[in-house]
């Protein structure tokens, strides 16, 4: 439209210069509006430093979590404290392991869990790692990228003795999420009950999936449990990190 107006404006002069002027203007416009190539290449994000995506092994660090459940209704808080490192090998032969203590806000009734943390594998032991019967979950494995998947546990033994296969899938990546956490991977753990006995815990029931969000430098900061119909059962989130 602008070109037509300019052309009409100059046309009466009948001089080639007057016709070239609007043409030149349009040329300037076109050249000026050529999009620049992306300077932020949209390459799929990957992470190979898995130890940065799990709870740091920092002495005196204490993470306060808030647990909220609708079925049954429960609202509680608990601490996860890094205790120390254990040089003993796990039942699978990994070493060393990190020992974490879970306790309520009154620091009573604590339980101990262990984890083997490396850049290519993060294995979580729900008890003594040297005990072969302790339930184990591979939280992270190999390279983190959207679509990566692995068997987190082939035969996960729940509290009531039910056997569950848990598959892990990296669902998505977020550059920023939650409380300004950076480089966040959303990993979904889906349970498939093996055998006739159903687990008590809702996150291990058949078809349920537990979403865990891992942020670089922070570790896991959010868990959301959905049933097989994608209804939220409970959630647990990191509320505060403090140094004791």
């Amino acid at each position: 439209m602008a070109f037509l107006i300019l052309h009409k404006l100059f046309k009466r002069n009948g001089d080639l210069r007057f016709r070239l002027s609007p043409l030149f203007f349009v040329l300037c416009f076109v050249i000026g509006c050529v999009p620049s190539p992306s300077e932020n290449a949209n390459t799929p994000p990957i992470a190979t430093d898995l130890h940065n995506y799990i709870k740091t092994q920092q002495l005196n660090r204490s993470d306060l979590w808030h647990f909220l459940s609708g079925k049954p209704l429960k609202d509680s808080s608990y601490f996860i404290d890094y205790a120390r490192q254990n040089a003993l090998k796990t039942f699978d032969g990994y070493s060393p392991t990190s020992i974490y203590k879970f306790s309520d806000t009154l620091r009573t009734d604590s339980i101990t869990q262990e984890a083997y943390i490396s850049d290519s594998l993060v294995a979580w032991y729900f008890g003594k790692s040297s005990d072969g019967s302790t339930p184990k979950l591979i939280l992270l494995k190999d390279t983190l990228r959207v679509g990566a998947n692995w068997i987190a546990s082939e035969n996960f033994l729940t509290s009531n003795g039910a056997v569950v296969q848990i598959k892990a899938l990296v669902e998505d990546y977020y550059p920023v999420s939650g409380n300004n956490y950076k480089d966040v991977y959303w990993v979904s753990f889906t349970s498939t009950v093996k055998g006739s006995q159903n687990p008590i815990e809702p996150q291990y029931q058949n078809g349920a999936h537990l979403s865990r969000y891992f942020a670089k430098g922070i570790g896991e900061y959010l868990e959301r449990c959905l049933d097989s119909k994608d209804s939220l059962i409970w959630s647990s989130e990191l509320v505060e990190t403090r140094i004791r």
């Binding site: 210069r17 050249i31 959905l226």
Partner: protein, 464 residues
């Protein structure tokens, strides 16, 4: 003696007895009556020119004036020799090439340092396009001199001019030893080295004196152009001032004087540029409407901003101009907004960074420098705009000018106003807004971006 008395009569300075005697002499002498008529015509001309900005000299007046000069014995100047003309042409070409080299060298160095090839390409194409259109088309130069007394010739050393072909002569187109001075306002005086011809005085100038001096100046009170007598010759019924360069335009005859000026006006001749400094206030003021748009280097969007504004300009002197503007600046700024779909499969709210157009009323202040490049007028502007909320954005512009009407011109050029926008603050705001929902950002993360625009701009300028 009679001529002086006629002037005194027109000025009302004659006594009653002298007036009676003069009128008696006029009554019995047709030649003296013609002289009186010429003075009346000259007076009428200067009065007309004083009211109009672009008025050619009436050919009848020119012819009659110099017919009178011829009648008093003036035979015209001695034409320069051919060899000197060739030397002059060579000198002119050398000077022109040196000027061009200087300009290119001074522009090239900083431009090569630009990171954005788009900016560089746009600027080069702008200069090249504007100048090539003008320089590579001979008819453009010819038209420049064909209109009226508003145009002038340029000669580097007019005293060396010789053997000017009659076909290259131009009536009232002037050669100057100075740089070119657009002469486009009201003529109210013509003077030689020793004499000045003003309204009532012009007839006092004895014809023999005109070309006995080393230069002739024509002035309108605002502008003065000098011509050398070697360039002035006489033809049958008119005096011509010659062109000195075969590349210069062909002669125009006295019939061109007073012709229609609007038909072939050179669009690159600005209305107000390069005037002398004694213009009136309103002659220095222009009012314009400007619109521009473009993109910011490094920004992936094709269009990252635009601006419309009205602007008042004031020419401080021949090359320096100040401007004040009021307008609307519309940049695209990347903001964190709710994504579509708004939640992931886990029920987490999703955000995305998306360019959003902002509408900001702005006021601006600029200063500019005018100069000629490849015979085309250019203007380089720099200044700031502010949105009255504490945000100040620098701006730069580079324009050339095209004349559309006597009081209307159009500036075409490139303009840029680039600034850094903080995206993270927007993201923090969105995260706070959805704090209970653990909002997650999809796509790539940017904390800052360069926005605003560099792009073509068009400006319509009204000259008072």
């Amino acid at each position: 003696m009679t001529e002086e008395r006629i002037l005194d009569f027109l000025d009302g300075n004659l006594g009653a007895s002298d007036e009676e005697e003069l009128l008696h002499r006029l009554a019995v002498s047709p030649e003296r009556r013609n002289l009186l008529k010429q003075h009346l015509q000259m007076r009428d001309l200067t009065a007309t020119l004083a009211r109009r900005q672009y008025v050619p000299v009436p050919k009848v007046l020119t012819a009659s004036l110099f017919t009178a000069l011829a009648a008093n014995g003036y035979a015209g100047p001695v034409m320069p020799s051919a060899s000197s003309k060739e030397a002059l042409v060579a000198s002119l070409e050398n000077n022109l090439s040196k000027s061009a080299e200087t300009v290119v060298a001074s522009k090239s160095a900083p431009l090569y340092k630009k990171s954005s090839i788009i900016v560089l390409a746009s600027l080069i194409s702008f200069i090249a396009g504007a100048s090539l259109i003008y320089t590579l088309m001979p008819e453009a130069r010819q038209d420049k001199f064909a209109s009226s007394v508003t145009n002038i010739f340029k000669a580097a050393d007019a005293k060396t001019i010789t053997n000017v072909a009659p076909s290259q002569a131009s009536v009232l187109s002037l050669a100057s030893q100075q740089s070119s001075i657009p002469f486009e306002s009201n003529i109210n005086s013509v003077r030689t080295k020793n004499n000045i011809f003003r309204n009532r005085e012009i007839a006092k100038q004895h014809t023999d004196n005109i070309f006995a001096n080393t230069s002739v100046e024509i002035s309108n009170g605002d502008n003065t152009i000098s011509a050398i007598p070697e360039l002035i010759s006489k033809e049958s019924n008119s005096v011509v001032i010659s062109s000195v360069d075969s590349k210069l335009p062909p002669a125009i005859t006295s019939s061109d004087i007073g012709g229609n000026m609007s038909g072939s006006r050179n669009p690159f001749v600005p209305i107000t540029s390069q005037m002398n400094e004694d213009r009136s206030f309103w002659n220095r003021v222009t009012l314009s409407f400007r619109a521009g748009e473009g993109k910011a280097p490094g920004n992936q969007s094709a269009l990252t901003g635009s601006m419309i504004e009205i602007k008042a300009s004031y020419d401080v002197n021949d090359w320096f101009v100040t401007k004040l503007s009021l307008g609307q600046f519309m940049p695209y700024e990347t903001q964190a907004v709710a994504a579509d779909p708004g939640f992931n499969a886990d029920g987490i709210r999703l955000l995305q960074l998306k360019p959003q157009m902002q509408y900001r009323a702005v006021v601006g202040a600029e200063v500019g420098a005018k100069f000629n490049l490849f015979d085309a007028p250019f203007e380089f502007d720099g200044g700031i705009i502010g949105d009255m909320k504490g945000n100040i954005i620098p701006r730069l512009g580079f324009f050339t000018s095209l004349m559309l009407q006597d009081n209307l011109s159009m500036n075409l050029g490139l303009e840029g106003m680039i600034y850094s926008h903080d995206i993270s603050s927007s993201l923090r705001s969105a995260q706070n807004a959805y704090a209970g929902e653990h909002p997650a950002l999809i796509g790539s993360l940017q904390s800052k971006e360069s926005t605003g625009f560099i792009g073509p701009s068009i400006e319509l300028v009204w000259h008072f």
